[in-house]
Symmetry: C2
Subunit: 331 residues, 2 copies
């Protein structure tokens, strides 16, 4: 049985040496009400970086020398549990372990016949929920409005843009390569794409792509890209702060253009979005996402890395934009 | 008859030479449906600075070589209007003129027997409405929460703090002199006051004054003071961006600590507040403010400058914090 522990709190960008790999030759026992789980897919996500710091946040930090946790799909390989039978698949927050014992609390049964198992970590999991609930609950989109998405080729961003199109918005995506920008338009149906790595004047590029201004900005990245969007926001604009991957690894406090004058001039709203605050809306949201997926109105990209030992590197690669869409590790 | 025109768009802090004083010896005629108004009190407000720039905002910019406008209380000195009689007092947006003709559109009758005339430019006018509606509509205060107010000794800030106390909040005010901080506590009932001009570490001072964290921040100033408040915000905090007087005169784009990571960590909201967006709530709000004023639960400070010719200087003095409470000019 293998486990990955957090060895050091990363300074800046994490490195593989911040993690410790432990291999033990033990047989795990289960008692009544428990299941033995074998990990099948592991989700790696930018927000995990925040939990590696020892600072106040919406979830407690990871403890040093304890297993890292993330979204995982696991197979029940032995059960003394009334509901969860051998051969079932469960999804939820679990340890980075090849095998573990669980009471099933906080885990949901997932059906491999309805969607590929990895989808339950992506479009039918936190990724899809984040995109759908962030856009609808804070963005409150109205058909005909203009939506800008940063990190647009990422797991959440690519779904946000597609939902934007379903809801009748003009959708502009910002991503970091021509290949990704191409994908936005050909695969995900975005109206416009901007490659921030080759665009000298992002402010002008956004103004050009959004001549009627920006009503909703779904922000996955923060930093200078988000500064540039401010210059195009409309009156009553809504800015969903879903993530700030561009600054997660900063060791100094990041500085940006002051947002306050833009917000007051435009009566605009900026709100931090954490999907777990909307748990009561999950069932309805998953149903909607599954419907759209079934109708082929939604598609998704995955980058699937193989091998338990590669989990930390896959996580680190997120910060270099090496993923297209959802990054998952197949065990 | 005297008029004050905008001569130049100010660069940085305005100066008296940005305004032109015109004196004409004309008798103004009125026709049916019009009143002749004599200006009694003129409100000067930080937001006017924004209208002096030629940039997109929630109200169109002032035109060059045209009269500046602001909130004014005027006396009807001649009338061919059905409702407004000679001797009545009207309040609303009017030109910086000693006399002017009006159809009365957009003006409200005010009663000098119910409150001093200048109060209709302050606590019972835009100032009180801004404080009350900003705090209640965006701040959504719950008794027991902690409120921080910047520009706390100013016209809006001093009312925000008092309403906070009426609604059962812990109220901390930030102001620029010991005298003002003293006023916050003795006159306006704030729980704590911080003098930002003598406090070296504002972040630490706010943490100390708000040991349970900050639930609502009513921001009148922007800049480094507002950066410091971010470090103390609680989960689900609400930040009302009412003004950014500290940066209104900046000629370069101001930079601040990036707010996005703080907002996402705390699921916090930051929203630009413009009182005119809430016009349908004015009658109810004025009623509430008048009730509290009558019950002596609200008090207010005014700085009254005398003389029409001193309007521009009174306006400029706002940016040096020379006012205590509402700055008005008596003609």
């Amino acid at each position: 049985m293998k486990t990955i522990l957090l060895k050091n709190r990363p300074k800046g960008k994490p490195s593989v040496s911040d993690f410790e790999f432990v291999e033990e030759d033990v047989a795990l026992d289960i008692t009544d009400g428990e299941v033995l789980l074998e990990t099948v897919y592991v989700s790696v996500d930018p927000y995990l970086r925040g939990r590696m710091n020892d600072s106040k946040s919406y979830v407690p930090p990871f403890e040093l020398n304890k297993p890292v946790q993330s979204g995982i799909v696991a197979k029940v390989v032995a059960s003394k549990h009334n509901e969860h039978k051998e051969g079932d698949y469960l999804s939820g927050m679990l340890d980075w372990k090849t095998q573990q014992v669980s009471t099933g609390e906080g885990l949901n049964k997932v059906d491999p016949n309805k969607a590929p198992l990895s989808a339950y970590l992506g479009i039918l999991g936190m990724t899809g929920l984040t995109a759908y609930l962030g856009l609808t609950e804070i963005g409150k989109p109205k058909a005909g409005e203009t939506l800008v998405v940063s990190g647009a080729a990422g797991a959440v961003g690519s779904v946000v843009g597609q939902i934007g199109k379903i809801l009748g918005l003009k959708v502009i995506g910002i991503a970091g390569s021509d290949e990704k920008v191409d994908l936005l338009k050909t695969k995900f149906g975005f109206d416009e794409g901007i490659n921030y790595n080759t665009t000298e004047d992002m402010t002008a590029a956004i103004k050009e792509a959004a001549p009627d201004g920006v009503d909703i900005y779904f922000d996955n990245v923060g930093g200078p890209i988000s500064d540039a969007v401010l210059f195009s926001i409309n009156r009553f604009a809504r800015i969903i702060i879903c993530g700030a991957i561009s600054v997660y690894n900063n060791t100094e406090l990041p500085k940006s253009v002051s947002v306050q004058p833009f917000l007051v001039k435009n009566s605009a709203l900026m709100q931090g979005f954490i999907v777990s605050n909307y748990a009561e809306k999950f069932p309805e949201a998953i149903k909607q996402l599954a419907t759209w997926l079934g109708e082929e109105k939604l598609t998704y990209s995955e980058t699937i890395v193989e091998g338990f030992d590669n989990i930390p590197q896959a996580f680190i690669d997120l910060f270099d934009g090496k993923n297209k869409g959802k990054m998952v590790v197949k065990i």
